[in-house]
Each structure stands twice: as structure tokens, then as C-alpha cells.
Subunit: 311 residues, 2 copies
Amino acid sequence: MEKEFVFGHQNPDTDAIGTAIAFSYLQNKLGYNTEAVALGEPNDETAYALKKFGFKAPRVIKEAAPEVKAVMLVDHNEPQQSVSDIDKVKVTHVVDHHRIMNFNTADPLYYRAEPKGCTSTIVWKMFNENNVEIPEKLAGLMLSAIISDTLLLKSPTTTDEDKEAVEALAKIAGVDYKEYGLAMLKAGTNIDDKSEEDLIDLDAKSFELNGHNVRVAQINVVDLADALKRKEDFLKAMEASSKDNNYDMFMLLITNILDSDSEALVVGSDETKALFEKAFNTKLEDSEVKLPGVVSRKKQVVPPLTDAFNA
Amino acid sequence: MEKEFVFGHQNPDTDAIGTAIAFSYLQNKLGYNTEAVALGEPNDETAYALKKFGFKAPRVIKEAAPEVKAVMLVDHNEPQQSVSDIDKVKVTHVVDHHRIMNFNTADPLYYRAEPKGCTSTIVWKMFNENNVEIPEKLAGLMLSAIISDTLLLKSPTTTDEDKEAVEALAKIAGVDYKEYGLAMLKAGTNIDDKSEEDLIDLDAKSFELNGHNVRVAQINVVDLADALKRKEDFLKAMEASSKDNNYDMFMLLITNILDSDSEALVVGSDETKALFEKAFNTKLEDSEVKLPGVVSRKKQVVPPLTDAFNA
């Protein structure tokens, strides 16, 4: 069978990379010929999880079409979040937990989306449905993905099935998921050795909102005040990136993983900033606003922005 | 829990109606509150299947929003094939076996697509995955849907899982599927008592192909020559419908279910007719052409048309 790539979104996180490895393993067991690849290098948190469970980082690809005719997507579907030449390959499978947007195909395909906290929770169900055993180390990697996406089951995106998956995968992997999970999340919060330009791009996604090109980036920290000392430099980097990439709005969500609160920085036109304020029923002060309890871009940021931009 | 509608596409066939009833039953067992409805009256074949297994035709709705806030779609996803006010309700679930096109949501949802011959095959898998027993009569209805969509497992869309599902469902329903299936298919081939206007609308779907509005209708018969005696009247009806609905091309596929061959009638602009000829590498003669072995709109008509219109 001809080889297909399996990969997650650009600026990959632990779900994008861990679930690509897990889904590729499952599909190969089911008779496909796949290779898990990535659209970028692992971040510090993902590197910590890969090392802990003995995986090498997947090979980074810039284009798919020179090597394969068909691909399988995990943890994303929107073309602008995918590989640069996604329009040149056929998508045969998608496993995802996001909204569906601008995803069009010429042929029928396998598409499995569920509104769960993490794509690995859905892949865990698929292992069970197909009676495929999950190896110990792979269970650890899938566990890491769920801990990452749900901030240790504390994000409002967390469902009962995410909790079940975490319990089951922690048992297979033989780890105390609370202890391991906190260590893994903390490994992703060191921002001191990174430039503002890098930090606003590490976990950033683009969304087309009613014709507007909107960028939403997120950084996890353990000390908000410490991160906000770099506010002016973050804003400069966001302005520059918006100019270079034609973003109509750039929002940076800085999330304290210990108490699940966020501070948002926003740059953009007066129009888009007004839409941001309407979306969150708040007022930006000097490009900044507190968003208490907001930790999920998917569930707490994109839907209100979508509503505000479409109103 | 607030009620949701479950329904298939406009101009419903046995899959659209039968699978809506089956998926609604499954979802209610899983704790949802749903009602299976339809976007049109059952055709003769579907009426035969409903009667055989003791079901009433689902209530026909024109709009969803006056009654519910959320809906579940089966056997379609393209907005122009769905309820007229689909943009006013939230889609929470989709089960489908078609390409994905122009289907966009603000929020994550359940989406289950597989390239199987029939949506009921996927729903049969979901019953099994969730350990929900399929009642005898419902098994008969799901069996009818698979027989209808796969022309008794002879269409090239047929997969091994469709065959497994037919065997399993026929056993539960207690019917000889070959004997019952042929009788059901024949019940849908009586075109004598219907006008050309009705016949070209019974099983018709619209597709947006690179900015062109393309209509593809299909009729099942047991005698092609007999059906083609009405060719001039079919063409007149297709021309009139194209004018009323701004179709750039109208294709009618007349399929002999006994030998799995089709004859196509095509009206449209010179440009779209040329694209049709390119898609099938053939020449229309007096708006007509033989398409030997072509029985599946989804697998044998839409993909080559899509390629030709996009080239």
C-alpha cells in the first residue's frame, strides 16, 4: 500500500505530535502504510513528553506532495493550519476535535471529529473499537497529549471521556498522571530563553473570521506578572508579525496553568479591537485585558470571536 | 435534554429516511432527545421499505429553526442539500458517506464520515461500538437503505463492511436480502404514473463545481429503452428547471438496476456540456450519451465532473 503521511497542525503542540504518532501506529496496525511527520519542531513541553516515553521527534516536513499522494490529518482541518501544499494532496482521513472550516474534498473520506478535550481521547476510543492494544510508551505519549490540551483535566473543554482515557492510559503507561502531568506542563512554561518573536509563534493559529485574518497565539506560564514585564516587546512583535502576514488582528493569550487564568494582549485595527471587546464584553486598556477563567482558545476564544465578527 | 431533529437530504431516498430513523433511535438510547424528520415525502421504493417493516413516514419539515435549536444530519453535509434554514440552527452531529463541501461550523461537533456504500453501514457500526441492540424492524429498514444505495451490493461504492452489515442486518430482520432487495428496488422503478417534472426532481442533488451550479438527478428503471421514449419531454423539463433554478448544467442519469448500466441526458451551456464530455471522455449526441457501468453519482459522476470543472 502506498505510503501516506500523518501529521498535526503547524506550530505543533503535544496533541499534534503525540496523536500523529499514535494514529499512525493504529493505522499501520489496521493495514495502512503511514509515517508520522510534523510541521515543526516540538516545543519544550512536547520534547519533555517525547523524551520521557522514549520517542524521537517526528521528521519535520515543509511540503507533502513531493513525497506522498495522500495524507491523514490529526488535530486540525482548516487548510491554513495545515501543510503548505495541502491542496496538492488527497486527504483520506481526519481525526479532530475542532470546528470544521474551509475543509472541502472531491471524494468521500474518513472523518472522525468529536467535541472532546483532546484528539488523543478520540484515538484512544478508536484503538478500543478496533481491539488494537496500546503499547506502554505510546499510552504515555497519548496521556501527555490529553494532559497538555486539558491542562491536567482542568480546562472547560474536558469531558468525561477525557478523564476515562487519562485513567486508562496512565494505568497502561504506569505513571502517576498528576505528578507527571504537572512536571510536563511546567517544562513548557520556561519563556526566559526565548525571544518575543518566537513566543508569539510557538502555539499560534490563524482563523478566517468573516473575511478577517485573525491570529490567536497562546503561551503557558506559572507567573503572569513576570511574563507581562515583556508586554511592550510582545506588542511590538505582534505588530510586526501582523504587518508581515496581513493579520487583521493578533491576540496573545498568556495563561497561568496553576490557577487557570489568562491575560490577553491584542493588536489590530480599531474595528477588530472593537469586535474583540464585544466578543468578551470587556474593555482593552493599553492593548491588554484580564480574561479570568479563560484557558481554551477553541472553546472560550474562537466561538465568541466568531459570533462577534459575524454579527 | 432539548429536542434535536435528525434528518437526511432534500429529495430523500431510502438511506436519507431509513438512516435518520435508525440514527435517531441510537442517539435516544445514548441519552439524546431526538425526532427523525424528513425534507420530503418518501419515494415509492422508500415507501415500500417503510411499509414492509412497519414504519410510518417521518413528518416532513420545511424549516428547522421554528422548532429546534440544534440538528443532526445524516447522509449529507452540503448546505444546499439540507433544510432551507440550516444556517439558523446548530449542527451537533453528522453521519455521512459523501465528500465534505461548504460545511462550516463555529463550534466543535461530532462528525463521522466513512467512504462506505451507505450511511446505514456506518450507523450499524456505531450501534455495535456502543453495544446497543438493533430491533428487528429497524434492522430491516437499515438493510433496505444499504440495498438501495449499493443496488443490492453491485454498485462500485460497495465495501466489505457494507456486505458484512447486510448479512448481519438480514439475519436480525429475518429476511432473504436478495429476494426482498430486488422486490424493493423494483418498487422504485415504476415511472409510468409520474410526470417528467416529478421524475427529474425525485432523486436530484445540487453541486457547486468551481462556481457552477450543477444539478444531477437519477432515476432507476428496469427498461432503458422504454424510459428513453420520453427523452424529449425529459429534456424540456430539465431546460425549464435549469431556467427556474439557475442551474448551469442539468444531468439526468437513467440507470438500469438489472444490468447496472446508465444513459445520461444533459442540458446546459456549450461550456458546461464540453466539460461534461471531458469528464467522461465521451461525446453527447443529441444531448444523450451511454455511460456503461456507471451507477453511482457519488463515486462515478461527481468526482470526474469536479476534476473537469476545476481543471
